[in-house]
Structures are given as structure tokens and as C-alpha cells.
Symmetry: C2
DNA sequence: GTCTATAAATAGATAGAC
DNA sequence: GTCTATCTATTTATAGAC
């Protein structure tokens, strides 16, 4: 009654997802052939079309899962009752954790950014927007309560997310530069970088204790829809 | 004696460079076919192989010119006699200007980052490193003179460059999100973002006036080659 | 320098046996 | 669910006329 050596259905599907994520991250959608995915996943090429309609459908499944996961983490942090500075810390850490837990996430996101979202569907758009909305909520609250100086939430969001994405995305590039003879070794561990960014954001965002007392609701102008430059 | 209507040699070469830069930025190296480049540049496909050895050689020429240009700007700023805070402002502005002057630069850089530098030659590596070395010089000087609080130059570099690359790179993505019904319009003009980032970096980097008097050369430990985590 | 035509390799996708 | 074999379109690149 022992199981046949044949792999279970869920196994081959998962192997395809894992292998495809690795390949798409390293070489992009156009740069990855279905043959390569099959080879890496150690499945037959036809299996990919059995489990997924097309190369593009497979790509979309992977991409969406990544953004949905990050969106959930961000929403949970915004809904928590931590004070705004700690929420900012948590957001930075969450993005970093997500990037470490799924190494294919940063390269795929960078590529999608470069692509200008040409291949993203509405659901993935919303998941990306959810991360921003959560961050905006946190920053807005910080400004309103006087914990933060008056900053634009969206621009601040870029300043939080940008460094983490840049750090995560450049991980293999930095390793390559470090191995090469360019005269620099830009390799550091993620925890150090998180601590650095959190400290920078604290100093940049938190209002000096003296100014924290009285703060009316003036100067809360932020960028919104219809604000085109 | 009027010139024949035939295009000059330099024109077709430049047309190829321009068209290829646009296409590579939008679709990546693998996603761009030589046919597309020829169509966009309005030249015959064979002309591309006449002026450049291969698709890859053409790509490399464009990529290298972008990094060399940014590296030069950065070195000039580091060599200037501005005080460190103004030099940081200038670096941020230079990266932004470069990205605006050559719209293909941000997407191409993001893609190369995602690629992990697999296709970069030593010269391009050095050009990328030059930008970092210039920034490190500026930050080191700021810390040494007591203008800045003690920060790690490399991590700080990520915190400067990351937001700008993220902002620039997401320009078309943000436009797409703004046009869509995602409930946000993340479009802002570059000058506003530069001002925001400069202000954030000032608050994050500049030492409070009280602490700016005495600062011995202690605590100048920074990440260097051979520092692997 | 510019073009047409085409070679040679590789891509995504499917039919059909088991 | 899994595999082999193959169809068709597209790709990079070149040969050779003008």
C-alpha cells in the first residue's frame, strides 16, 4: 500500500510555482522560457500548460500572490494600536521581511515598476495601492497627533519603501560588486539596514519634543487625486 | 548642390540609439526585438547590425553611457567645495536631473538591478561604484566635520538613492495607477519630491546645533570591504 | 550606407498516447 | 497527471545586391 514513486499533483504544481518564481525574478517574464521553467521545476513542459493556461497566466499568479501578501501585512500594521513611530518601524520591517521570505519579490517588483504596470490587472493594482493606503493612514495619523512634522504622506511613503526595495533588489548586484574588484564591498546584513532606515526615518519624521504640545489642524495639505503638476 | 534626401550616417546611428533606449527601457533587453527597434528608429533592421555588432552590444553602449554620465556628475559634486549638507542636496538633485534628462535611465537601471548585474561589464561596474564612492566621500566628510550625526555612508547612500530611483522608476506606473480607479493618484512633480527628500535627509543627517561643537574622531566605524555579515 | 531575402535557432503552445 | 513529438510563429543574425 506504499505510495507510488510518482509525484503528487500538488507537488508538481508547487514545483512549477517555485521554479517559475526563481526564473522570472532572475530573468524577467520575456527573458524566461517555458523550457527553462520546466527544467528548473523538474517537470515536463506540458505540465505547465496543464496546470496553468499560459506562461502569462503563470506569471500573473505569482505576481499577485506577492503583492496580496504584502498588502495584508501593511493593513494589519495600520490597523494596530501602536503609536505612529512604531508603526513606521513595523512597516519598514514588514517590507524587509516579505522581501527576505520571498526572494523573488524584490526583483519582480522592480521589473514591474520598470514595465510601467503594462501587464498588471486591476486586482494587482489594488493590492499595490493597499500598501500605500496603509502607509498613508499611519503617516496621516502621526502628523495629525503631532508626533510627526508636517510631511506629505505619499512622498514619505516613497522615502520609506524606496530604500528597502533598493536594498533588497540590489542584493545580488551588491554581492557581484563585492566579489569584483570595484574597490567597494556593499554587502551588509538586512537587520543592520532596517535599523539604519528606522533611525533615519525617526529623525526625519518625529517632531522635536518642544513642538509636540500645541498643533492645530493647519498645514495638512497633502497630494490627492486630481493634483496633476 | 543640395544634400540628397538620404539620411546621414550619424543620423541613422543616433536614431537607433534613441529608439533602442526607449524600447529597452519599456520592455527590457529580452522583451525588445531588433525588429521593434528598427521600426521605432525608422531604419532598416540590417542597419542595426551594420552600426552595432549585435543586439547585446547595442544594449551595452546605451547602458554604459547612462552610468558614466551619472558617475561624472557625482564626482563633480563630491569635488566641489560646498558644505556637506548642500552636497547631499546636490547629489539628490543630480540623480533626479539625470533621470529626467534621460527617461530611459531609471527603468534600465531598475532592470539591471533586478538582473543582478549578470550582463554588466567591469567598466559599467566601476561607473556604478563611482556614484557610491562620491556619495561616501560627501557623507564621510559630513560626519567627520560634525555636520552630520554618525551614520554609515553606504546605508545612507541607499537611503538617498533608493527614493529617487523609486520615484523616477515608478513614474509611468504611478501615471497608470492615477488613471485607473484604484482610489489614489500618486502623480506629483519631480521638484516637489526633490524638495521633500532633501528636507527629510537634512533632518535625518544634520546634527543638532547643540552637539555640533566638540566631536572627536571616535565612532567613525563604517562598512568596508571584507565586512561580510 | 541602405535594402531584400533568408538562414538557423528558439519561442510558446498543443495533440494525443499512456 | 504525465510524457513525446511536433506545429507554427518569431527571433537574432547574415549574405549579397545596389
Amino acid at each position: 500500500m506504499a505510495r507510488p514513486p510518482k509525484r503528487l499533483a500538488r507537488d508538481s504544481r508547487q514545483a512549477i510555482l517555485d521554479g517559475a518564481a526563481t526564473e522570472f525574478a532572475a530573468r524577467g517574464f520575456a527573458g524566461t522560457s517555458v523550457d527553462r521553467i520546466a527544467r528548473r521545476a523538474e517537470v515536463n513542459k506540458a505540465m505547465i500548460y496543464y496546470h496553468f493556461r499560459s506562461k502569462e497566466a503563470l506569471y500573473r499568479v505569482i505576481l499577485r500572490s506577492v503583492f496580496l501578501s504584502l498588502g495584508q501585512r501593511a493593513r494589519a500594521i495600520a490597523a494596530s494600536d501602536l503609536p505612529p513611530p512604531e508603526q513606521v518601524d513595523a512597516l519598514v520591517e514588514a517590507i524587509m521581511r516579505e522581501g527576505e521570505a520571498r526572494p523573488h519579490f524584490p526583483p519582480m517588483m522592480l521589473r514591474e515598476i520598470a514595465e510601467g504596470g503594462r501587464c498588471l490587472d486591476a486586482r494587482t493594482f489594488r493590492a499595490m495601492a493597499a500598501v500605500f493606503l496603509a502607509a498613508r493612514e499611519v503617516i496621516d495619523r502621526g502628523v495629525q497627533t503631532g508626533a510627526f512634522v508636517a510631511v506629505d504622506p505619499m512622498l514619505t511613503y516613497f522615502t520609506m519603501l524606496g530604500p528597502v526595495m533598493f536594498y533588497l533588489g540590489t542584493s545580488s548586484l551588491r554581492a557581484a560588486i563585492g566579489r569584483s574588484r570595484a574597490g567597494v564591498d556593499p554587502r551588509t546584513d538586512p537587520a543592520t539596514f532596517v535599523a539604519h532606515l528606522q533611525a533615519m526615518l525617526r529623525r526625519a519624521l518625529c517632531a522635536p519634543a518642544s513642538a509636540r504640545a500645541a498643533r492645530p489642524l493647519a498645514r495638512r495639505r497633502t497630494t490627492r487625486a486630481g493634483d496633476r503638476p
